[in-house]
């Protein structure tokens, strides 16, 4: 029996909500209980965007993640705001292209990924989010292509099927970094 609470945070346009949705769908295709809750309202437009994802073997209680096991921070305000909320022993993934400072906590595991630079280098400017998720999946031993493909086909509409390969590539870049 396990429950993992994720918090994705960054600014609007980084695909924060999308990466959360992908992870939730991956959980769903693997018969887990999942929930996804976005921040909503004016803060989505240009300010900080965040979303709570819970993946569990048992029914999800409150969908609100106040103290994440895993924080994915994609800009400095997000790290500033949520660093202290992470549970002791938790994990923080930092986009080190956009966040220059180091994590101050010493009781958490930290992974620094230059996701935005890697995305630019690979001509996939909008997929830094998926590079972060690729790293996260590989660290959590959840990087299985079958589940990934199943989830990607759910979150990417048939109209944008050409994006599927790009997303898969971004996830791989993340996992190998």
């Amino acid at each position: 029996m396990s429950t993992t609470q994720f918090l994705f945070a960054g600014f609007g346009g980084q695909g924060i909500l999308f990466s959360g949705k992908f992870l939730a769908y991956k959980g769903l295709t693997e018969d887990k209980q999942v929930s996804w809750l976005p921040s909503y309202g004016p803060e989505m437009r240009g300010g900080t965007a965040s979303c709570s994802v819970i993946i569990s073997d048992t029914p999800v209680g409150s969908p609100i993640v106040s103290n994440p096991d895993v924080l994915v921070a994609m800009n400095l305000p997000s790290l500033d705001r949520y660093e202290d909320a992470v549970v002791p022993g938790g994990t923080i993934y930092v986009d080190s292209t956009l966040i220059e400072r180091k994590v101050r906590r010493t009781d958490v595991t930290v992974h620094y990924i230059p996701a935005t630079r890697l995305a630019n280098d690979n001509n996939m400017d909008t997929l830094a989010n998926m590079i972060m998720v690729g790293k996260l999946l590989s660290e959590m031993n959840e990087f299985n292509e079958e589940g990934i493909n199943a989830a990607l086909s759910k979150v990417i509409s048939a109209r944008h099927a050409d994006m599927l390969e790009f997303n898969l590539k971004a996830l791989k870049i993340g996992s190998e970094n």
Binding site: K21, A24, Y25, L28, Q33, V34, S35, W36, L37, P38, Y40, G41, V60, G61, S62, P63, I64, S66, K154
Partner: protein
């Protein structure tokens, strides 16, 4: 069973309504329920239905009155301030005994308030939606699956009793995504011999009306309606009991508050306190009997709410003063944390002494 898909609560309501045979939606956008209207705008034209963005909430509810009069399944949705605007129409629907579905994805108030989740329209929904003696069937979903299930149920109950069903949700329920299965067998709606469908010169006119100037006649209408309400109270009350078998502390909560309460109950049980939950699924009719029964065996009751304490009045009435009833709440768009609810459980277990 159909494949489970991830859907937002608001989208689940919209799709379930369509599955239930609703082909008429009237509304006006307001956060945090706008996805209902957006979904309807996309889907209705493709299935021969009608989506109409009205010029105001008042217009929308009166369009609902019009379609309901013809016997078709019809709905509108809004959030707190918009529901207040619909009040007059809700009273007219009740006075004319028309079936309709109204969705309130609540946000913090009063006034224009905020856009974050709230449950502070409890009084409005269950007791005083507008002028006159009337009730609506009030359904309180606590998951995205229930957003869909209770939408279908809401249409069925509305038709069965010729009443308005209200889905009383909140911003969290509307915005969150969870797996949903929309695998319903929809029974054909009942015959509606009262509907204004055109006489074809074969029958007398049907008249849909809420004006009764003769007080004896109006009183009779009220008496009849309240006999129906009594029957509904006896037959349609829905609730969930969670870990109540051996509970000494009973939480009462609906919607998102019930989910937070479940987290707190798990923690309390780890700490050796036997807590349980009664989750009303119908807020009207309110599950009085099960709360009364609980009050005969537990030490204390806690009402967990996203309001300044509204449902607690019904909890107190149902428990008839047998045990202390306390309030654990946040308001204005804030949500109680499991920690806060756990503390309320610990306090109640200590006899209210902090």
């Amino acid at each position: 069973m159909a494949d489970k898909v991830l859907m937002k609560g608001n989208e689940a309501i919209a799709e379930a309504a369509i599955i239930a045979g609703c082909r008429h939606y009237f509304g006006y956008p307001i956060t945090p329920q706008t996805e209902v209207a957006a979904y309807m705008a996309k889907r209705m034209p493709k299935i021969g239905g009608c989506f109409l963005q009205a010029e105001s909430e008042i217009a929308a509810i009166n369009m609902v009155y019009g379609v309901a009069s013809t016997g078709h399944r019809v709905m509108t949705s809004s959030s707190s301030p918009g529901i207040s605007l619909k009040g007059e129409g809700l009273s007219y629907l009740a006075g004319a005994d028309l079936p309709a579905l109204v969705v309130n994805v609540q946000r913090g108030g009063p006034g224009l308030g905020g856009i974050q989740p709230s449950q502070s329209d409890y009084f409005q929904a269950t007791k005083g939606a507008a002028h006159g003696d009337f009730h609506m069937l009030v359904l309180a979903p606590s998951s995205v699956q229930e957003m869909a299930d209770l939408t279908v149920k809401g249409f069925e109950l509305a038709d069965k009793y010729r009443m308005t069903s209200m889905i009383l949700a909140d911003g969290t329920m509307g915005q969150m995504m969870e797996p949903v299965s929309l695998d319903y067998k929809i029974a054909p709606p009942p015959e509606k011999p009262w509907a204004t469908t055109g006489t074809k010169l074969e029958r007398e006119h049907n008249i849909v009306n809420s004006l009764f100037l003769v007080p004896e006649k109006l009183e009779e209408e009220n008496f009849k309606r309240y006999e129906k309400y009594k029957y509904i109270e006896d037959n349609e009350t829905m609730y969930e009991e969670y870990m109540m078998d051996d509970a000494e502390i009973c939480l009462v909560a609906f919607g998102i508050a019930a989910r937070v309460a479940k987290n707190a109950i798990s923690e309390a049980r780890k700490a050796g306190i036997k807590a349980g939950l009664i989750r009303p699924i119908t807020l009207w009719p309110f599950p009085k009997a099960v709360i009364k029964a609980a009050s005969q065996k537990v030490k204390a009751i806690i009402s967990v709410e996203l309001s300044m304490g509204q449902m607690i009045e019904d909890v107190c009435l149902a428990s008839e003063g047998r045990v202390p009833v306390t309030l654990c709440n946040r308001a204005g768009g804030m949500i109680p944390s499991p920690k806060q609810v756990l503390q309320a459980i610990i306090d109640a277990n200590n006899g209210g002494v902090k």
